[in-house]
Symmetry: C2
Subunit: 324 residues, 2 copies
């Protein structure tokens, strides 16, 4: 097995925590967060010592109807600035830019003119050249950049290796292991993280982890990736995120031993805002249909539909997945 | 790190799955399961290829009021036999006997006269001599025996080592790593499991794992213990169990590659029985108070009370735990 980096008592100074609540959580409520919610989350993240806060996607307004989504689907500089001002803090701001869904050449201006620090490019394996173009564009504009290669559980390992080689030669700062379908177990996450770390070792790029909770492994997978050397970790408050959701920010802050991290501000934020969100109908988190799409390594869309429809015919659902 | 036993594609023939739904789940509803529920669970476990089904505790009727608990708190031979007949199947039957709460000398008869195959003795570290006496009593009566040393996260390692030495010399068949407070992370579970395996190597006793989900690591901890050589694994349907609950049986059956295991019968059982149980008010599973008792390595009783009272003052709750 791989070498363990750090131990349960030590501080890993290289770890960076990113709160992706607005971005992955926005997939739950179509990004309709109140300004009050977003401002208080910003304040909570600052008090909690979070290193990066992601404000949403920078989606293309020509492709997506602004009347069908809250503003954090588009996470424009002006909207971010209305919350953070000049963000004169130690916490950095990120947005996610999806290959093919972001008019990056026009909608991402120079970093000097933006409150954003980090552009996170998300791509499928077959659009790697476009992802690299976006990374180089953002890097040339002065941003930190990272890359999420999505749905790797469906990829050939040699294609992942090729993608990692492309990224190693690029301007990217870090590459995330992404378990899009929540289908991977800790033993697999460690192996994949090790592969990413080895591919990035020479170019000294960072490796990150973004996990989903379909099989209730999001948190465990996150801390296991960390334990063998991943250093950029994603969490969301209460694990809010598409379908089964993500690794919880509060769990992560509790786990990390660096005294700069505080769980208390996140607990207050949950009391004040998250419970209302749930009361008002936002639904995410582990259930049997998500277990089954995770187990069969499939996109959670069928499980999201079953959850929405309160469909509890689990055996029929499982058989449907096996027919896929 | 420890050696990995088996891989994601292989079958570990030595693994034995135990369904503890009636026993740990009984702590949720004071053991008031209908006969219909218990019979259908028995049938589902048989169809699913489960190796052991635990029917409850063998609690002392002099200590516990039979009017305040369902019959599976006492799991008498006659009640088990009313469900399983002579249990002429490949699945074995277990009960749990708590040190100090079971009048084992009188209430456990010879195995030849009982439908039970396995007596699982549960003990705290300070009652190990009594646990050994119970193990030897049960072994002499013809039973398989195992031992759960509870609350080890609060024990000194040298005391655990002493307990393991006592067990290695006893008639016990297997010893469980038990994360009573759900406070342990995968990296710790692997280390502890490795310690147990080493302590049991010479005497060729088995090592098992019983996990709790306070920090959403029950399933991950279970399969991680498995990956380094634990072979007796506990699950409960939908993770039903005290507080944050356990590792889910359906997750476990999905994970295991042995074709003798089937998840489908458990899915049917969930549809038919578990959803009604939840609808009727049974409450268990991960939430923020359980995360916080897990994180601070404390008994979940305060979190159980907070959950029951719908107390969502999480920050006050956390401060109370830190004052403890």
């Amino acid at each position: 097995m791989m070498e363990i980096k750090g131990n349960m008592m030590s501080v890993r100074e290289d770890v960076r925590v990113l709160d992706a609540t607005l971005r992955d959580g926005g997939l739950v409520n179509d990004f309709y967060f109140t300004d009050d919610f977003v401002y208080d989350l910003y304040k909570a993240n600052l008090a909690a010592g979070v290193d990066y806060m992601e404000f949403g996607y920078r989606a293309d307004k020509k492709q997506f109807d602004v009347n069908k989504f809250g503003k954090w689907k588009f996470a424009e500089d002006e909207d971010i600035r209305a919350i953070v001002g000049d963000n004169d803090t130690d916490m950095k701001i990120s947005i996610m830019a999806d290959v093919g869904r972001c008019d990056y050449k026009h909608s991402i201006r120079d970093r000097a003119d933006s409150p954003v620090d980090l552009i996170r490019v998300a791509t499928y394996i077959n659009t790697m050249p476009e992802a690299i173009a976006m990374i180089e564009d953002a890097a040339a504009k002065g941003y930190e950049t990272t890359c999420n290669i999505m749905a790797i559980s469906k990829c050939q390992e040699r294609d992942i290796q090729t993608a990692l080689e492309m990224l190693a030669k690029s301007s990217v700062k870090g590459v995330y292991v992404v378990d899009s379908y929540g289908s991977l177990y800790p033993i697999q996450i460690r192996e994949i993280t090790d592969m990413y770390l080895k591919a990035m070792a020479e170019s000294e790029k960072l490796v990150g982890i973004h996990a989903h909770n379909n099989q209730q492994c999001a948190f465990a997978n996150t801390i296991e990736a960390l334990s063998i050397g991943a250093s950029m970790v994603d969490g969301t408050v209460m694990g809010m995120g598409r379908g089964a959701g993500n690794s919880s920010l509060e769990g992560l802050l509790g786990f990390l031993k660096n005294p700069k991290y505080e769980i208390a501000p996140v607990l207050s934020f949950i009391e004040k805002h998250m419970l209302k969100l749930i009361e008002d109908g936002a639904v995410w988190g582990y259930n049997i249909p998500y277990l089954l799409t995770g187990l069969t390594d499939q996109h959670p869309r069928t499980a999201i539909a079953a959850t929405k429809n309160h469909d509890t015919k689990y055996l029929d659902f499982y058989h449907m997945l096996l027919d896929d």
